[in-house]
């Protein structure tokens, strides 16, 4: 089911020339299956993010692509060449780790030139290449410093320069930003993205931060429990999550359990809610409805998908306020609604207040009930 969803959302924009092609890749650690038959195509020059909670297999997949941890089964093709069993040194990639893994006893220049020295390039060529790379990552005057003398963000840039030094065809980034503080992280996001566009190097980044994935990737591969849940553009993944897991992991979503009543009508408690479409679901089937908090609107007057509710809690989150709404009746619904700050100022909502919430049919996503 998840793989099927992955295929359909990928279909319209399948890369014309596959740069990296992964076929039914599996990886087991004893009885534990870290990767369960992964299929994935990545086009040349793409920026792809592997997104998922810790333990979902995203890093395992990255390390298998790099050849650092060999897969149990399946194949990996790089530029049409089977590299499934090639050692890392015979694959064409540069890698940046969360810890940066800079050699502490070597200067910044020696770190960046580490791979070049081994290629037996002439000395002045190495020096030129190193200063070119350091300029590229915005550290032109730090060449003779040691890593310990640099800030975290600077160390990350050196690691990036080192990974790019040998002009690899593939750049792998393993949670490169998680060790940095929030402000530096935001700036480096943009820098890495800009650098990638400029060089056109195919890039795979592993992250557990959905915001990072949404803002940087051209395509996101959402993973959970060793399978791909969805592959799609950030917009597709956010607006049309293929599974309840994706919906919940990428952005916030309230879930309501219900039963199909008609083609597009779902009974939730003692309410009937209209959905825009429910392909593949039939009457009597148990389903789950998902709704983003920012899609909920507080309105006046009754109507379809409008519920009388009460505000039980208001949580200030800076630019918006997250309201917890509770319905009436024997089995009341609970909803989250994000209210923009200006709306809050105009209406002056307060806990205990009765409101009417509209759950737009177009914003209600329908999923098969989780077991």
């Amino acid at each position: 089911m998840p793989n099927h969803a992955a295929m359909t959302s990928e279909a319209p924009r399948a890369p014309e020339r596959s740069f990296l092609s992964i076929r039914s890749l599996t990886k087991s650690f004893g009885p534990f299956q870290a990767l369960k038959s992964i299929d994935l195509e990545i086009g040349e020059g793409e920026f792809v993010c592997f997104l998922g909670p810790s333990g979902c297999g995203k890093t395992t997949l990255l390390r298998a692509i790099a050849g650092l941890d060999r897969q149990t089964g399946g194949s990996i093709m790089l530029r049409g060449k089977d590299v499934s069993n090639a050692p890392p040194s015979q694959r064409d990639f540069g890698i940046v780790f969360q810890s940066y893994a800079l050699f502490p006893n070597l200067t910044v220049a020696d770190n960046v030139g580490y791979g070049l020295v081994n290629q037996k390039k002439p000395r002045d060529m190495i020096i030129a290449r190193v200063s070119e790379l350091l300029a590229l990552v915005g550290l032109p005057d730090q060449a003779s410093k040691y890593p310990a003398q640099l800030s975290g963000g600077q160390q990350q840039r050196v690691a990036l320069a080192r990974a790019l030094a040998t002009s690899p065809g593939l750049l792998l980034l393993d949670e490169p930003l998680s060790a940095l503080d929030a402000r530096v992280r935001l700036r480096l996001r943009e820098e890495i993205r800009a650098l990638q566009r400029r060089l056109g190097v195919t890039t795979i980044m592993v992250t557990h931060d959905q915001e990072e994935a949404l803002s940087m990737a051209e395509r996101i591969v959402v993973m959970n429990h060793g399978v791909i849940e969805q592959v799609g553009t950030p917009e597709e993944v956010y607006a049309r999550p293929a599974t309840a897991f994706v919906a919940d992991f990428v952005g916030r979503m309230t879930f309501l359990s219900g039963v199909m009543e008609g083609a597009t009508l779902v009974r939730v408690g003692d309410q009937a809610l209209r959905v825009a479409e429910a392909p593949g679901f039939s009457a009597g089937q148990k389903v789950e409805l998902g709704l983003r908090p920012e899609a909920v609107r507080l309105v006046e007057g009754a109507g379809e998908n409008r519920l009388s509710m009460r505000i039980t809690e208001l949580e200030y989150l800076g630019s918006f306020v997250r309201a917890t709404l509770e319905g009436e009746g024997a089995s009341p619904l609970t909803l989250l609604a994000d209210l923009p700050f200006n709306v809050m100022q105009d209406r002056a909502y307060a806990p205990g207040q009765a409101v009417i919430a509209e759950l737009p049919a177009s914003a209600l996503r329908i999923f098969s009930a989780r077991t």
């Binding site: 069993n85 540069g94 890698i95 780790f97 810890s99 502490p104 580490y114 791979g115 990974a163 690899p168």
Partner: protein, 559 residues
């Protein structure tokens, strides 16, 4: 694409596998085969025929030998019972009080490590022996026998027990004490409900370590045991005196039992000890407490004084013309040629042996630990090498020495030509002290980012280049630690090498035993003094190197 094809393409994996196989072969030769020789010798008769447990039956039916077994057990237990509480209190003073001079007291307690174990026995002979100035304090009892053994072993074992206790007491969670104090718990109740339970694994571990050290020590009972026989001296007599290799092997195997038992107890204990301290624990900071600190200071002064006294006595005696009748200063005792045909040669041989052990041992241990810890291929082989590296911990030096005797002297063994050479002494000593050095190296390597090898692979740089350019420079302090550890222990060890030296390769520590045997106790003390001063000088040099060299050549460590 088959796995085989990729294997031939992966040069790095091939090199790593080859090196690991070479290391495994070397360790099997240095550690496993000698132990196997000991084992098989114990179930053979003198013609090399298999006789099952006949040797063991003969052992049990020989009253003199069984008496030694009993002697060994009660003496070792008594030493453990004396030393561990003292070490606990001393460690408590070092870690849980604000008494002055804690660093100095720690250093003082470590001094026995720089001397051969039998040095304290020599000192005791000067103090309580037939000509001892405090002989009357023994109320007619003789120092030659269990009394002397217990006292000397207590000195020898004290630093070992202390290191375990200090580690255990340092692992305290300060928050537990804050909670106890907040709840108004009395000091004694805190001690019995928080401090003691926290250190209980350390206490168990220390008891077993001390027991094993004593039961397998050869030097002290040899020098001060008199007619009191223990297992270690029995093994020596059976092998060297009576050439009864089979019975020697049986004694060796019996000595192996408590050591193996202690090894497994220690492993269990260490697992639990680590679990005691959660990642979020806060280190305990003792508050000043005048009365407590004064009492502990007095205690440490007494113990530290005794330790220094034991060391100082032998050193002083080595400069005295004729104890106790002519106490004038002389250097005659250092004219070793008068007492031993080798003269100063034994000392020089010791230096050479220790130097070679440090050089070869450090190289093999560190590179071996790197292969085990940082390379990917052949996981089974890496596990096997790690197991072999941990094995010597459970094997007392005396037992390993016996194993070497049987192995090297085996008629089928072409390596027999090495018997009595420096080569076999170095090999044996490297094997004897392999485990601690290996653990030091592994601990250091674990602290290095695990992704260095991955980054190198992505940059197409083979692991041996990264080992040379990054791993070794970063690890220099640990490498130096290992070298000094091996050097000092090679200098002071007696038990393993006593069976293995040859005409031209007598070591200083063995010369001490021989000179003492001939009654030249002052010369024995002089040779021991040479060893102590050399070992301490090396240690001081090590400290100086650590300060100066690393400040100058490791600028990258500074922020």
């Amino acid at each position: 694409m088959s796995a085989n094809a990729s294997f031939t393409r992966d040069r790095e994996a091939r090199v790593a596998t080859l090196l690991l196989a070479g290391l495994a072969f070397l360790l099997v030769l240095l550690i496993a085969v000698p132990l196997w020789s000991l084992l098989s010798k114990s179930v053979q008769n003198s013609n090399g025929q298999f006789v099952g447990l006949a040797n063991f039956a003969r052992y049990i039916s020989t009253p003199a030998l069984v008496a030694s077994l009993w002697n060994s057990i009660w003496v070792s237990s008594l030493v453990a019972l004396i030393v561990v509480p003292l070490a606990f209190l001393y460690a408590y003073a070092l870690t849980r009080s604000r008494m002055p001079g804690r660093g100095l007291f720690m250093a003082v307690a470590m001094t026995p490590l720089f001397a051969p174990s039998l040095l304290s026995a020599i000192s005791l002979i000067y103090i309580f022996g037939n000509q001892g100035f405090l002989k009357s304090w023994l109320f007619g009892a003789s120092i030659y026998g269990p009394v002397g053994i217990v006292l000397a072993e207590a000195v020898y074992c004290f630093p070992h027990a202390l290191m375990i206790m200090v580690t255990a007491l340092r692992l305290a969670d300060g928050r537990l004490y804050e909670v106890a104090e907040a709840l108004g718990t009395s000091k004694s109740r805190v001690f019995f409900t928080v401090t003691l339970p926290g250190a209980r694994y350390g206490l168990i571990s220390a008891i077993f370590v001390v027991f094993t050290l004593v039961i397998t020590d050869f030097g002290i009972p040899k020098v001060i045991g008199g007619q009191f026989n223990v297992l270690a001296t029995d093994a020596y007599k059976q092998i060297v005196g009576q050439q009864n290799f089979e019975m020697g092997a049986v004694v060796g195997l019996i000595l192996l039992m408590p050591a193996i038992f202690a090894f497994f107890v220690d492993r269990q204990v260490q697992k639990k000890q680590v679990a005691l301290l959660s990642a979020r624990a806060v280190p305990y900071e003792p508050k000043p407490n005048g009365k407590r600190d004064f009492a502990l200071l007095a205690f440490c002064l007494v113990i530290g004084g005794l330790l220094i006294g034991m060391l100082g006595m032998a050193i002083w005696a080595s400069f005295i013309r004729y104890w106790p009748y002519n106490l004038t200063f002389t250097l005659n005792n250092y004219n070793f040629a008068n007492f031993d045909p080798q003269g100063w040669g034994a000392y020089l041989t010791s230096l050479k042996m220790a130097g070679l052990t440090a050089i070869f041992g450090t190289t093999i241990v560190f590179f071996g630990a790197y292969l085990v810890e940082k390379t990917k291929p052949a996981p089974a082989l890496r596990g096997f090498v790690h197991f072999l590296a941990m094995l010597p911990m459970a094997v007392p030096g005396l037992v390993l020495g016996l194993g070497y005797v049987f192995f090297v002297n085996a008629p089928w063994n072409p390596l027999g030509i090495f018997y009595g050479t420096l080569t076999v002494l170095v090999a044996n000593t490297v094997a004897h002290f392999y485990t601690v050095a290996h653990i030091t190296a592994v601990t250091q390597l674990k602290q290095i980012d695990a992704e260095f090898e991955s980054v190198s692979a992505s940059l197409k740089v083979p692991f041996w280049v990264t080992f040379r350019r990054v791993t070794v420079p970063i690890s220099l302090p640990a490498v130096l630690d290992i070298a000094v550890y091996l050097f000092v222990n090679a200098l002071t060890t007696v038990s393993a090498v006593i069976f293995l030296y040859g005409p031209g390769t007598k070591l200083a520590s063995i010369a001490i035993v021989h000179m003492d045997e001939m009654g030249a106790v002052a010369a024995a003390a002089a040779m021991a003094t040479c060893i102590v001063f050399t070992a301490m000088a090396v240690k001081l040099l090590h400290l100086a190197l650590d300060r100066v060299v690393f400040a100058r050549f490791q600028a990258w460590r500074k922020r």
